[in-house]
Symmetry: C2
Amino acid sequence: MNTEIQNTFRALADPTRRSILMHLSAKEMTIAEVSAHFDMTRAAVKKHLIILEEGELISARRMGRETLNRLEPEGLKTVANWVNYFSGFWNIKLQNLQSAIEEEGNSKK
Amino acid sequence: MNTEIQNTFRALADPTRRSILMHLSAKEMTIAEVSAHFDMTRAAVKKHLIILEEGELISARRMGRETLNRLEPEGLKTVANWVNYFSGFWNIKLQNLQSAIEEEGNSKK
DNA sequence: TCCATACAATACCAAATGGTATCATGTTAA
DNA sequence: TTAACATGATACCATTTGGTATTGTATGGA
């Protein structure tokens, strides 16, 4: 099914969620830490985190009584690939993007 | 204001709209032509086209009694730039994308 | 043990979204 | 002129979405 790309674009459609990704790009954060940056309840932030997880843009792992949320590249790859599809109709060279993605497995942490 | 990026991501969040972009990547099309590919009314397709236009992903120009819709790169640039922001957290080299975007003005049709 | 902490889950609500139906407007060809 | 054509605009409806409030559950320190 093609539901993954839908989940990713859906996740990116909300400004709060894009902002969360920016925050998580600095470091892994618990739900409470993420929530501290927004004027809404933790429950609301948690919902956004779930949608980001469904879009494969973040991952969450339980550590004791905390849950650490981390930025993940899968969803971003999906978006990059999608943009790349249009490179031929766009007079900009994006081929490098495609090849960079395919090389991902070879790079080191 | 930062409403442009919101309009673009909002426009991409719907599968019908992403499909419309795929169709328009083949050629400019009237509303009727676009509608022929979908099982919904022309009015519904027209609404999608307006949202795509707000996201700077297409442009529409009236030609007599027809309206031709064409793929536009502005919104795609927005998305590409956004993805590029995360390249540093992602062990893939996307710098080429950024420079390609900045060179756009120099390329020919 | 026992309580404060950090999160999970659910019910509920208002607003935005995706769709149809309907009517109005400008254009082309006879 | 006039009728069919292609689109534009608006009202309306069901569903989804983004949020709060509330309640439940597991963890860790005193």
